[in-house]
């Protein structure tokens, strides 16, 4: 078994590619399951060898892609502690927060070529959990929208600024109101530990949504 550091094989880039691809599928699915957009804009696609619902609205798809493109350099440098999909009500107050807590090990143990297929299996389990999460969550009020937040460090924002898309897609430091939720109900959905990524997903749900 070979042990490699993060610098070998452009390890960070591989992890960022894998995670951003996963997050894209997850964001689409969350928006579908939580009915943020009309179900008519979603089409069934096959990802991780299972059917998932993905939007076919060009502006929405571009928005999600641009968001993840900006987050990617942070993940690559292991600077993204959490990526959060926040569903907000019509007054822009959070009603649900899907929190992806990400941790990358400093050393990578590669045992075989099946490494990525093992990660794919673990990510599939996340997708399956998201697709049934409406069973454990209460209905959201009408008129909800969403946003994607990233928990990082001040110095790491320099990596984001290098991305070309940032010029047309600027980011700001979030206000307390945009992130804070009073006494949320915590719903753990899934966690995984692999050689290249450790991740857990939980939902914070506002007690009174209406």
């Amino acid at each position: 078994m070979a042990t490699l550091t993060r610098q070998d094989l452009n390890f960070g880039q591989v992890v960022a590619d894998v995670l951003c691809e996963f997050l894209e599928v997850a964001v689409h699915l969350i928006l579908y399951v939580r009915e943020v957009y009309p179900s008519g804009i979603f089409q069934k696609r096959k990802k991780y060898n299972i059917p998932v619902q993905m939007s076919c609205h060009p502006d929405l798809n571009q928005y999600i892609q641009d968001t993840l493109l900006c987050i990617k350099p942070l993940i690559e440098k292991n600077d993204a502690e959490k990526v959060v999909v926040v569903i907000v009500d019509k007054d822009h107050r959070p009603v649900e927060r899907f929190v992806f807590e990400i941790c990358q090990p400093p050393l990578l143990s590669i045992s075989s070529d099946s490494l990525l297929s093992h990660v794919e299996q673990l990510l599939r389990a996340f997708i399956l959990k998201i697709s049934v999460c409406d069973a454990v969550l209460t209905t959201n009020p009408p008129g909800c929208s969403f946003s994607v937040l990233v928990h990082t460090r001040d110095a790491a924002t320099r990596n984001m600024e290098k991305v070309q898309v940032m010029k047309d897609f600027p980011w700001i430091v979030a206000d307390e109101q945009e992130v804070h939720m009073k006494e949320p109900r915590l719903v753990p959905l899934k966690s995984m530990t692999s050689d290249i990524i450790k991740m857990q997903l939980y939902v914070e749900e506002r007690a009174q949504k209406t």
Partner: protein, 45 residues
């Protein structure tokens, strides 16, 4: 909300979000209705 801080400041934890909002549900609904009308016109031809 404040803009991204210059690189010289401390390394404290921050939460970032995009300045731009995603398309609204209403705009997406209009797009969907227009697409359905277009598809129904195409089918009638």
């Amino acid at each position: 909300a404040e803009g991204l801080a210059p690189s010289s400041v401390s390394n404290k934890k921050v939460i970032l979000l995009p300045c731009r909002n995603p398309p609204s549900r209403e705009r997406v609904q209009l797009w969907l209705e227009a697409r359905r009308q277009y598809e129904s016109l195409q089918n009638r031809r």
